[in-house]
Symmetry: C2
Subunit: 416 residues, 2 copies
């Protein structure tokens, strides 16, 4: 079976100058991957005629599907539409339905349409107009010599809607797609090399139809198993067999599979065990609460949080003893334990969690340098505390502490 090859071209000076992050290419990759379309390359070029035309030409030579994002705004720096017209050698003409749609878009929102916006309804004569329900720049679909092209706005939720409503449903009608299965085994609390050492002989004995990759990220290592074949169930079973073989060696580090995050794994554990949690976040400043409440349904197990940024509020709101604060300091095992105990009582939660540390870049001392963090989990009949020695980077310290606190909670739910 022929592999269907896709390329993604992101257009915009702002992407090359590093002024905005291209999250679109990542999302498109994920969606195509799920369908068995192989993304072979992602390219980012600036708002430059020659570079854009060169990217079109080399993508056409390599790929079956070319997905283009960006450069469709109403302003003068946007070149994608005129260059597509040039590349496909056809004029830009007024497209009645597209002009109507953009006019309606403004009317619905009670806003006056501008002449610039009306021009967004003018399109290359050789493209298929694809309505954009959530924005003003339409999608444009082109076909030539067996290649398919889609141009979409760079605004993420507009691009996603066009992909979901039009491109993704269309692909299976154009190609016979291969069967690829990915499974992800997610670990926390062990580094890549140690994990590799634990499972090397298993890895070396994997069948040729299954590929393994290690994907490290902040405090986590993900193992990705990719299986190739002709029948989905057969591949899934082969991968599951391999996971069952390796699991006993790494079980205590595994928090979940596939799209599961540490937050959703904890959501499941708390829901299953009918337990609730509350947080006292000092150095993490609300970040852990944000991770937990980012999940729909979190109100069933998340009671609330306090960010007591000064000692005074650690005492007044969480009842940390002033003696403790004075004798051991805010960043200490004693304080973090009382914070966790206090917030557990305040919110009447099953588990109380706390963080207190020196996130940096300032505030460190010889005894407690930047990156010193204490965390705690308190529950019925137990108190767990842990000291972390992290980095010089404030944001990284906040993120790493969050992972450590969530992992401590995970272990406490499982073991207590």
């Amino acid at each position: 079976m022929k592999v269907v090859r896709a390329e993604i071209i992101a257009i915009g000076d702002e992407l090359l100058y590093g002024q905005i992050v291209d999250t679109n290419s990542h999302w498109i990759s994920q969606e195509l991957d799920l369908m068995g379309v192989k993304v072979v390359r992602k390219t980012t070029v600036g708002d430059d005629r020659k570079d854009i035309l060169a990217a079109f030409a080399s993508a056409e030579a390599r790929a079956d599907i070319i997905l283009i994002t960006g450069g469709l705004g109403p302003t003068q720096d946007d070149l994608t539409k005129p260059l597509l017209a040039e590349y496909f050698d056809c004029p830009i003409v007024e497209h009645t339905a597209a002009v109507e749609a953009v006019t309606e878009f403004f009317r619905k929102r009670g806003r006056e349409i501008t002449p610039l916006n009306i021009l967004q309804g003018h399109l290359p004569a050789c493209c298929t107009y694809v309505p954009n329900e959530v924005g003003t720049a339409p999608g444009m679909w082109f076909e030539r010599n067996g290649n398919y092209w889609m141009s979409m706005p760079g605004v993420p939720h507009e691009m996603k809607k066009l992909m979901r409503n039009f491109v993704l449903p269309k692909l299976p009608t154009l190609f016979s797609l291969p069967v690829i299965v990915h499974r992800m085994v997610k670990t926390v609390g062990i580094g890549e090399s140690w994990l590799a050492d634990l499972i090397r002989d298993w890895e070396n004995a994997l069948p040729k139809t299954i590929r393994l990759a290690y994907l490290p990220s902040l405090g986590h290592v993900k193992l990705r198993l990719t299986g190739f074949g002709t029948d989905k169930t057969t591949i899934e079973n082969a991968i599951q067999k391999q996971i069952d073989m390796v699991l006993p060696r790494i079980e205590k580090y595994v928090y979940g599979y596939d799209s599961e995050s540490l937050e959703t794994a904890i959501a499941k554990l708390l829901t299953t065990n009918k337990k609730t949690v509350a947080l006292a976040e000092s150095c993490t400043g609300g970040y852990i609460s944000h991770l937990i409440t980012g999940i729909s349904g979190s109100s069933s197990y998340f009671q609330g949080a306090v960010v007591p940024y000064h000692n005074r509020f650690k005492n007044e709101i969480l009842h940390v003893k002033n003696d403790t604060l004075n004798s051991f300091g805010a960043v200490s095992e004693e304080t973090v334990r009382e914070m966790a105990t206090g917030v557990r009582g305040l919110f009447q939660a099953d588990f109380g969690l706390a963080s207190s540390g020196i996130a940096g870049p300032t505030g460190g001392t010889a005894e407690k340098p930047v990156g010193t963090v204490w965390i705690s989990c308190v529950g019925e009949g137990f108190v767990e505390t842990k000291k972390l020695q992290l980095t010089q980077d404030r944001i990284l310290n906040i993120q790493l502490t969050a992972v450590a606190v969530l992992n401590l909670l995970r272990i406490c739910i499982l073991e207590k």
Copy 2:
């Protein structure tokens, strides 16, 4: 003056399959841009011999500097090092200093080194070894036919350290760099088209040496002015003159310039005015506190926050009246006003902020659909409230609410 052209090549199947986001290319772009090096293309390829070698060859034909990230891990799926050796036609040999460094890296951390890790000290004979102080995969620098190449690990903080310590200081010694000045004017609370309409005649009258771009992102639109020339001060003055001309029309939307974020702009306002703030975050679940405390020094104006995820705690901790909660509901002007008042009192802050809404995707009603959010800012002698009608997307709603709350605070500090 010759423009120095750079290309960035990110290597790894995980980037094409969409399993991790490439934040490295974005960061590298920003740093090169500041030095006047023009990034002309970013390319992402998978762990595939042919694709990687093709990307090397086409980058060499176009760019003066090629920066490569990823594919340097100790595991078997990492191909960058052997393919660089192949491309530059030289053998991989044991590099004494590199082996010592990786051994020392493990010794310092009290961990046993693995045979896989020792191999990370073996390098192509034709490269310059660049020590990686924070990880196990060394940097590798190559020179050939007037082109310069740097290969770095994909782990962001390792790549950054190698860029900062080695690549960025080296570039001015290799090239005579042009002078490019970017300035960013940052607005909040107005859409791209409306902003464009407000300033169109100014935009059309810009001199040819200054380019304008509109960069929309969540709730913000940034105006980027890019000036080209030979003298930095002359360009800066020319850009400043244009900003001074346009500012009176858009002043109330402008919160800052360049790398300033809405959070840092507020930090400055609060510090200058010697004011403090506290937050009651219901639907935003700690996200606004996280944004504020992500900034070093925030403890001087941030008092603390409460995330009262249930009505009961809105009453017990923030003293929102049960009558109010029963009569108007948690998502109401009345409740959010009492939350802001309560948290202001609890933390004895100058400004109390509050959010309460239906972030979704569940929990909506006909009267209060998903995306309905109330926000409030309370200070000495005033109470401001605002209703937002946002999207169906939980995370987007949290982010948009955060921008709206921070902007409300900004306006209150300026006007009250």
